[in-house]
């Protein structure tokens, strides 16, 4: 079953983090990706640019409205994603525990969402 791992962390912590600490987080991501790819479960993984670069297009009263910024102001921001093929939720949880969130003591979380089966 395919699961998407939505990685949330606090951008402010990242912005003030020392370069070494950022490198550490990137390194940790690389390790997870290596392991996932070695095990043949990696279907995708990308980091995102910060929410300051986000644009939201909202449908409202039949119109499309363009707004500067993310769809909602939240304490933690979506920073990237993984898609992994896991046997079940327990295996997915094990992966989620390995994926780093935040840096320099910054907090974060991973939301695990099963992907809907699509037919082609």
């Amino acid at each position: 079953m395919r699961y998407m791992f939505l990685v949330y962390s606090t951008e402010t912590a990242e912005a003030t983090a020392a370069p070494a600490s950022l490198r550490e987080v990137a390194e940790a991501h690389r390790r997870v990706m290596d392991e996932a790819s070695r095990k043949g479960v990696l279907l995708g993984a990308e980091p995102l640019k910060p929410t300051s670069t986000a644009t939201t297009v909202r449908s409202q009263d039949g119109e499309k409205i363009i707004v500067d910024g993310p769809f909602a102001e939240t304490k933690e921001q979506l920073a990237g994603y993984y898609i992994l093929d896991c046997r079940d939720l327990d295996e997915a949880i094990d992966w989620a525990k390995k994926i780093p969130t935040g840096c320099k003591g910054g907090e974060g979380c991973i939301e695990i969402r099963p992907l809907e089966k699509t037919e082609h």
Binding site: M1, R87, D88, L89, D90, I93, I112, P114
Partner: protein, 420 residues
């Protein structure tokens, strides 16, 4: 026994086992529940004519299994005819692989699988409780709703949502491996203890159903202990529940709460105490001491005292201290303070409790004020006692507790006016 009562009792006793097996076989909570329900209805129809079968449990199991197979065949036929069923959940094994051999109906691990799935931390705790009572406990949705004082649709919705999540997020139906076990077992134990407390603490309204919750929690505790007998926490938990439950008759008199100190100890259930005490000893021998064992040991010390004056408060204080190390919560600290008051001196205990209250964290906790009030009362500092009782009364939510506090206040007023 009449056949209806027999069918009901078999259903209550066995449905957890049967559902557990059928979920493994069919991969679906709903199918398993439907099959067991149908088997129960069959029993109600058949037993008055044929008499109660020699082995009613086996009859129920076989019938439920057959119902499940019928059900799947019916669905298969519909699917073959229409060939348009798009929505298919295949979280576990696909249904057309249903095994027909009856051997597959008896795997001892089934109920363990079920309890771990129901108490999976990816489900919220309310759902864990509802699902455990529904599937393992064999309680009906209205029964569970009544016991938790919730509207039935709320509870039904909770169950539907939980079952959907199990299927769609693919929560596995298995006993967790060694790495995951400690975390997962803690979650199972917490659910069982919450069910017990729900039945034990609140005594309002549907009293009978709530007593049932205690019995159900103890039954689940026994199942857990039977399935994993070497886990000291499982023994501790069962002991703790039995020792508390042993005081049930003495705890409420004429609808009024009776404190441990004032309870008629001859009303305590000696069988439950004996079993609880033996379990505590066994649990301590088994190994690492966790919070259930410590709480059970505290309850055991109370159970062993033939009179309140004989209570070994010093040892109880020591056990609370250890509990505090494991679980540093203000509530445990409060209990520790009370034990200190009873062993090392009321003033020393009061001082400790006041220190705890200094942060203001316990201000809205009624037992904090009730504990202070009780110590003031023992010290004959009536004015302070009355004030603390009043604060406790303003915070208590349960009728019986409020009634108790009011009584204490009245007693104080009485003794104050008698002095004049």
């Amino acid at each position: 026994m009449d056949t209806q009562a027999a069918a009901e009792s078999v259903f209550r006793e066995e449905s957890g086992k049967i559902i557990a097996a059928l979920i493994r076989i069919s991969g679906s909570f709903d199918r398993a529940e439907d099959a067991v329900q149908e088997a129960f209805i069959s029993a109600l129809a058949a037993w008055p004519k044929t008499g109660i079968p020699a082995n009613p449990a086996a009859w129920m199991m076989t019938t439920a299994h057959r119902k499940l197979i019928d059900q799947v065949r019916r669905e298969q036929t519909v699917r073959d005819k229409e060939d348009s069923v798009r929505y298919e959940i295949e979280a576990f094994s696909p249904p057309n692989q249903i095994e027909l051999e009856s051997d597959s109906m008896h795997l001892p691990d089934d109920r363990l699988r079920l309890i771990f799935t129901c108490c999976h931390p990816a489900l919220n705790q309310e759902s864990q409780i509802a699902l455990t009572l529904r599937t393992l406990g064999g309680l009906s949705t209205p029964e569970i709703a009544k016991a938790f004082l919730l509207p039935e649709p709320t509870l039904a919705q909770r169950l539907v949502r939980a079952k959907r999540k199990i299927q769609e997020a693919r929560i596995p139906y298995e006993v967790p491996n060694a790495d995951r076990l400690p975390e997962r077992l803690a979650s199972v134990q917490a659910v069982i203890y919450l069910i017990f407390n729900e039945g034990y603490a609140a005594a309002s309204g549907a009293q009978l159903i709530r007593t049932d919750l205690c019995a159900e929690a103890i039954r689940l505790g026994r199942v857990l202990k039977e399935l994993m007998p070497t886990d000291p926490g499982n023994l501790g938990l069962l002991a703790l529940m039995l020792l508390h439950d042993s005081r049930r008759e003495a705890r409420i008199r004429n609808g009024q709460l009776v404190t441990l100190e004032e309870q008629d100890r001859s009303l305590w259930d000696r069988n439950e105490i004996a079993e609880g005490l033996a379990l505590v000893q066994q649990a301590f021998r088994l190994g690492p001491v966790g919070s259930y064992q410590l709480q059970a040991a505290i309850a055991a010390l109370h159970a062993e005292s033939s009179a309140p004056e004989e209570t070994d408060w010093k040892q109880i204080a020591g056990l609370y201290e250890r509990l505090l190390e494991l679980n540093p919560s203000p509530v445990v600290a409060l209990n520790h303070g009370v034990a200190v008051a009873m062993s090392a001196g009321l003033e020393a205990g009061l001082e400790r409790i006041d220190d705890l209250g200094a942060s203001g964290e316990l201000d809205s906790y009624y037992l904090f004020h009730a504990a202070r009030a009780d110590i003031f009362r023992r010290l004959s500092r009536r004015k302070e006692a009355a004030e603390a009782y009043r604060r406790a009364l303003a915070l208590a939510t349960n009728n019986i507790e409020q009634e108790f506090l009011r009584r204490r206040l009245a007693q104080l007023d009485h003794s104050v006016s008698a002095e004049r």
